[in-house]
């Protein structure tokens, strides 16, 4: 495959102003990923600051209740800042630091990537500015306050649909105006090459650990690994080390909102078509003229009209399977895992849990499923309460 390509997907579809910077970023990444000092520094941060390795937790009660496959959760929700986003952010912000940058910018949807970036920037003494759709600053007001508490400047984005895609647009616009001292810390396995590769590499720690942990606990590979998919960073992290183990099924759960037969969804694989946007060729929700469609999900973190190019390729080749999960199913799963396992997970992760509830009972007791709990659900509690019609005041 050509450099930066995943089958026909990927590439570098960005303004000329950014080209030299992105070439420079790739060179710097290729250099530092082999640099012992950089790796020692990153591994120390992952272990002592982020709290890695994350637990692989056997969900005994759910396993019994669902009565099929043995269920494990990869507990990315227990990381510092409460989601898998910290894995990528520590890598990228540290890379920015080694590159001599003094400022990082990022987009955020639910706010998890923004909070993680602001956290790493505070720790590593970098200036930090976060772009967040105005709609999302309202849905996730607490995360806005968290980012500000961490010293970041949050820009509410009022263009377009005022959600994640518009935040990416605005972060890219900002980056074209200032590249010398600034790295755009992209939050998912998307955008122009080398971002899908860099973010995948930093997130692949999830499956590296999970593989070693399951082999130790069970002495065999899982039947399936699964995760929710927006841009696709936690799922790519969960899949990556298993891609070359054909006996392991890879399952991504995308946001179907009110259902894929309505126009209120963010189910890119189910409903999207091939396009070129945000620097990459991949699948996008768009109209017949290539206008990017407004998408919808109860989950701000999955509310994105595209999917990372490597996922698009795994879909094309049939190596991974992508399934839509509705808001209602996700909320139901959010409540179920809370009551059954005492875990309040992110509404994004609850999309994977919802599909897990469908497939686990169809499998045998010898089967093993690892589901990535990408984040914790504190940020979602108020919104879910409102969804359920509870009159709740923070």
């Amino acid at each position: 495959m050509a450099k930066g390509r995943y089958g026909i997907h990927g590439g570098q579809y960005i303004p000329e102003t950014l080209m030299n910077e992105i070439i420079h970023l790739e060179e710097a990444y290729e250099h530092y990923k082999k640099d012992p000092e950089f790796n020692a520094h990153l591994n120390k941060l992952l272990a002592e600051y982020a709290g890695r390795p994350s637990l692989l937790y056997y969900a005994e009660k759910m396993t019994k209740d669902l009565g099929g496959a043995k269920i494990y959760f990869k507990r990315e929700d227990l990381n510092h800042t409460g989601s898998h986003k910290i894995n990528n952010v520590l890598g990228q912000v540290l890379l920015a630091k080694y590159m001599g940058k003094t400022r990082v910018i990022a987009e955020t949807g639910a706010g998890q990537h923004g909070v993680a970036t602001a956290t790493a920037a505070a720790l590593l003494d970098m200036e930090c500015e976060i772009f967040m759709g105005k709609e999302d600053t309202i849905r996730q007001a607490l995360n806005v306050y968290r980012m500000e508490l961490l010293g970041a400047k949050v820009h509410p984005v009022t263009s377009g649909t005022m959600t994640l895609k518009d935040a990416v647009n605005e972060a890219m616009r900002e980056w074209t105006s200032r590249v010398n001292d600034t790295l755009y810390v992209l939050g998912s396995v998307m955008g122009p090459h080398p971002f899908p590769m860099i973010v995948r590499d930093f997130q692949s720690v999830i499956s590296k650990e999970a593989k070693a942990q399951i082999l130790e606990k069970e002495g065999k590979l899982p039947t399936a690994v699964m995760a929710c998919v927006g841009g696709g960073s936690n799922s790519m992290g969960m899949f990556y080390e298993f891609i070359n183990d054909p006996e392991v099924q890879l399952i991504g759960c995308e946001a179907a909102g009110h259902g894929i037969h309505t126009d209120k969804h963010a189910a890119t694989i189910a409903k999207g078509t091939l396009g070129v946007f945000h620097g990459m060729k991949s699948y996008f929700c768009q109209d017949e003229y290539g206008q990017i469609a407004p998408v919808y999900s109860i989950s701000a973190g999955l509310d994105y009209p595209g999917i990372g190019p490597e996922h698009a390729y795994l879909h094309d080749t049939g190596r991974a399977q992508y399934v839509p999960v509705t808001d209602a199913e996700a909320v139901d799963a959010f409540e179920y895992i809370a009551r059954t396992e005492g875990i309040i997970c992110a509404i994004e992760s609850a999309h994977a849990v919802a599909h897990l509830r469908k497939i686990a009972p169809t499998m045998s007791k010898d089967d093993i499923i690892i589901c990535c709990l990408s984040g914790r659900g504190d940020k979602d509690v108020a919104a879910i309460a409102r969804y359920k019609g509870v009159d709740l005041h923070e």
Binding site: G11, R173, H278, Q286, I292
Partner: protein
């Protein structure tokens, strides 16, 4: 020779941009003809896109206004058919890659040839990615306009060496929009371009006053003005013809005074 080069035959060129369908396509046609009458040498017609990542606020808003009145790529083609009955001024499209990709490269460029479009500017398609559409555009006599930015450095020669139509020199970092000051070493960039290419070079991004037009017109083969024109259309809506003509005349006079 590319028809685009006609724009550079009578001294320095003034290139005007507007977003098709803002405020509506009938007015776009009228404004294209008005700009030509006022002295514009080449017109860039923006095909609206939902997410124009290289545009500042003014042109972003124009894209939204245009899409909200139902402008589509097919309707823009129809408008060009009508314009072409009245003028032979060089016309180039400016749009993002996705509307072109989704239309189908073959269909899009065949249609360009059929209606009389001479070139295309695609801000999110850099040198490295142009291979997938360049042969198709060429086969249909559509020049794919190359952009060179303040950060292009070692890339300038390579890009300029393969450029056809004209070279779009991006004056500043960032997105489109009016600027009071441009700090880039444009003379250095233009010198490198001229060593590598005989294709005319025009400067765009940020230019909005006659003083700027005179200054950058003196350096390059032409100047490109977008946001200032779109701002006038935003302000005057369906009654922008007179103010547009006055503005284009003042800018063209400033450019050719050099």
């Amino acid at each position: 020779m590319s028809k685009i080069q006609n724009a550079f035959q009578n001294g320095k060129a003034f290139i005007g941009f507007l977003t098709a369908g803002d405020p509506n396509l009938q007015k776009t046609e009228e404004y294209i003809l008005a700009m030509e009458e006022a002295g514009a040498d080449l017109i860039e017609i923006g095909i609206p896109f939902s997410d124009p990542i290289a545009e500042g606020q003014v042109i972003q808003d124009a894209n939204i206004r245009s899409l909200s009145v139902g402008t589509t790529t097919d309707k823009v083609f129809d408008m060009v058919v009508s314009v072409r009955k009245k003028t032979q001024i060089p016309l180039v499209f400016l749009t993002y890659l996705n509307p072109v990709f989704k239309y189908g490269y073959e269909q899009f460029f065949e249609k360009c040839r059929e209606v009389g479009i001479d070139g295309i500017i695609i801000p999110d398609m850099p040198y490295e990615e142009k291979g997938e559409l360049l042969p198709i555009a060429k086969a249909n006599d559509v020049d794919v306009i190359s952009m060179i930015a303040p950060t292009s450095e070692d890339r300038i020669r390579r890009i300029a060496g393969e450029a056809t139509g004209f070279i779009y020199v991006v004056s500043s970092m960032g997105v489109t929009g009016m600027r009071s000051e441009i700090k880039t070493d444009l003379e250095g960039i233009l010198e490198t371009i001229r060593e590598a290419s005989a294709t005319p070079a025009a400067i765009g991004f940020g230019i909005n006053t006659p003083e700027q037009a005179a200054k950058y017109g003196a350096m390059a083969d032409g100047v490109i003005v977008g946001s200032a024109i779109v701002k006038l259309i935003e302000k005057y809506g369906e009654n922008a013809k007179e103010p547009l003509m006055q503005y284009v005349k003042s800018m063209k006079n400033a450019v050719i005074s050099q």
